[in-house]
Symmetry: D4
Subunit: 168 residues, 8 copies
């Protein structure tokens, strides 16, 4: 049993169906991680505490999902020098509010913003793996295999589809 | 010399040209106020401190201007039960990013959001005056005069403009 | 039985499912309130009457929900010096039309705009409670408890979720 | 000297450079008109008065320009059964706020919305002329000439431009 | 049996559920009208023909609904000097594409644009009635009754809703 | 059996329900075509290969559908001098993300962008047919018939709908 | 001197600074072309005429620029079976109105839409060249050289910029 | 002299004024970096080459700026397992096109997206430093100092501004 290296935060347990996409990716790479629910606005003290202590607890990357005004990733980034990756979650307006609130950070406090929703959550986990792989050759190798597998899966989908039209 | 009743916060001194519109309105109503610069992301500890101590310092309403991801108003609202009024400031995308980041707060932590920029800053101050006037009959009377003056000013503008077309 | 302190207006009875979120919050704080249906455009005389007489009827804050062009909050604000809080209601375009129409008021006539829909309605009620609490220490204390309860609820949600991944 | 048939309203004298495009079109058709400045929010009583008395003053069509939340056209339409044409004026966000606030009227109270800014103001005047021409054959004839002139002007512009490329 | 005075055009019979809202309003005012399906792009010759002959067929106002690029109203306006009212119909992007394509006409060729969808279709019909009423006192009187009825209906909705909260 | 002249690419087999609209149009014109699944990001080598070899395989036009960041059409255009037509596919935000990503190409590498979704896919195929018809008089004749049929279908829809209102 | 093969249309001579980007590209490939000014709305008859006769005049591809409601490309496409490429021109709202009005065509009448403004105009010309090159091997070869030159120019820009940071 | 650890790519040398903000931040942390100009579309082979060889050249993080369709970051991410950070650059539409094109990546190929323009470029560099600091305690310490300095700078700005209003 290992200590978590990645912290997956979300503003509400309603966000779990989106954020567990991140967890599944991390699990497939055998990266230990933790889920936490905390809100930038409803439990700000808890959020500060989680952000400030993440590093000493051994966390390397923080993945943060939130919807609407979506301040959680920025709030976490304010209190840590760990890389923070933000996942905008659709709650209204197609998620454009969360995307802008997560991405448009002022200079000095970065949040690496992913796409809206499940695709973004998966990619946040993969970017975290890419970061960990910088000092873990085994992980780097797995990422190469992952990329190759993706490419092969596309080819297989194509093979099933391939059905050139002919003169009828 | 009175203790400030209204706190006008802004994320950067670049926001002063917008936020002093709020100060001018308050000054015209003889409401003591303070300006502070603090950032939700660059000086989060200072922001928490300002928000948590506002009430005991005698502040009644907090007016908060910020641009881009514009988390400042929400960050303040997370730490106080005073009314918080947010002014979205245009820095990019016409200010729509700041408007959405300020308005789309999750249930439980309200921010009364004003329009973008100077008009919003003036209105934040007026809404603060309306709030103070609930327990200050003199201020209430001044607000009535303010409203009458506005209406009269429109009529005067009309008089200068009035120039019905005639058959030429 | 007390006289209502908060007036909750809506442009149509179709808006009740959204606006009763505001009523429920007020009821939980034991704040007497009234619901009214009135339209800025279909019953403009009635709207003027409600807005002009609100203060003398003992109303302290007006919460106004409307969708589409969403002029109701602004129309009310034109006729009163009470604080007016606007709730944009989604009817088309995800509610961005109502948000802009409510927030982008000209200088001189403020509307404190909340988020779109139910979250916004709840927050309008909470902001109204915060305003009333400025001169009601008991209410202020309840707000503090409300904030503490929110934070605790987040922690409880986290406890149910907490499920750190381990090496599988 | 004739009584005005068209009323051109605007929320502020700052809007005159846009709205006088409407006046110039009307003058070119020798339609008597009036300009008025009135605000839906700052001079609501005056706005109601102008809207309610327009018909008895001989007005046939009301052209209303406003920016930002742009409630003026809707406010006028609430108090009259005359045709109301709205001109969204750019003040922020490229004028999309004013366009949505003017166009997205609830069923029962129509506003014929024109394009943003000067093009919209010219077209509001032309639509008003088209409406008057329904019962004025002379005006109808002028409109036909106007349309022909427009087409000829396009051809003239083309003649000046016409410059086919050749093998160089 | 009367000759139609209002022409309701639509780009496709899929638009009928929206556009018959206009027809129902006209029928309630006993205004004879016609429906036609024609496309600016798929049947351009037919569209030109309908637009050019509308006036001689006795049409007074053209109501035109279309979605997506929504060129139909503009195409009609290009070929007639009758008032043209456009109804943007939602087909994608919430209808914002159709709204912009209908409203943003170049100077010289006006289209009075209504709100998106059914509300817009009803209002197009009402604006057409307002235009006809300029030379029909009986219709003018009916419009006044319609406005009064609308206001009374709002009051009745309020009566059913009215349910002031009391201390529980 | 003929060699395919049109290549229909899509980023995922999930896009087939949209893209087969293009295939159906091509089949109705008896144009031989091929479907391929390839991703700009997940199988970039395969994408380069398909794009680079398209011309020598006898392809004349490439039709490319993709959603979200929608880089596929641009990636193909980077590697070929064949005409590339892009079909934005709705996956989030109503497809506006894919539309902008497909259309806003830098100078030097064109993508002819179609509307969002099925309508866009059909039109991509038709534009491809129009391109092929430039050197195929038989195809040109079929396109003329197609246009005439479209116009007639509109008239038939109208005939079924035609139902002029009369005095009731 | 050759007969024009490409027709570059624009709604107004104000659009020439954008559209001559297309002309310059065509001239550099020695493709004969013509410029015409015509408006979908102000000179609709002329527009129909140009579109209907283009093919018999030897035109192969039509490049059409327009701003705002931007119906011109669609209007041309309605009357021809030639490939039509649309260039949205920024006049308001950053050009998003023109982009949507040009791209969101109904099924059956395609417009290949380019990016907004000058980049789009250049690309329209290049796409036209790509289309012509399908039956012109010399042109095909030039396109290959153009692509190589572009790539080399990027490398040259890089060489001028290349300036790796070092330990200071 | 050290080998570069960070690669800063941009689609055009026009993007240098934005992207050198990233370089300045890296220089201030004494991180060796390189600038390269390459285009996803105009020099795709070069882009593939840079992306594929980055890791073996010792690059740890790739920072990629691009505007409009902004495919460059995604194109790079397709060919490497290094972390890729994208900076959307405003070229039209306020940069919303580039933001969406950079952020909305499909699952499997992550791009950590920063805010639009210079703020985004600075933050991309800081996020890269945060990533490097995971295995460089000296850099971690510098980041802590950087954060403290930022907070102190806010306080100093406040001190210069601090000017509480008093009763006048």
């Amino acid at each position: 049993m290992q200590k978590p290296k990645i912290s997956i935060l979300m503003g509400s347990d309603h966000d779990l169906p989106v954020m567990k996409e991140a967890g599944e990716v991390l699990a497939s790479f055998e990266i230990p991680f933790e889920y936490s629910v905390t809100s930038a606005h409803r439990s700000p003290g808890r959020t500060v505490e989680i952000a400030r202590t993440a590093e000493e607890r051994g966390i390397k990357v923080m993945i943060v999902g939130a919807g609407m005004a979506a301040h959680l990733a920025g709030s976490v980034a304010a209190w840590t020098t760990l890389p923070v990756l933000g996942v905008p979650i659709e709650a209204s307006l197609g998620g454009i509010d969360a995307l802008l609130s997560t991405a448009q950070m002022p200079p000095g406090v970065p949040v690496g913003t992913m796409g809206i929703g499940k695709a973004g959550a998966r990619n946040a986990a993969l970017l975290a793996v890419q970061i960990l792989a910088l000092s873990d050759p085994g992980l780097k190798e797995r990422l190469r295999l992952y990329k190759e597998t993706m490419a092969r899966e596309v080819e297989e989908k194509d093979r099933r589809l391939q059905n050139p039209s002919r003169r009828e």
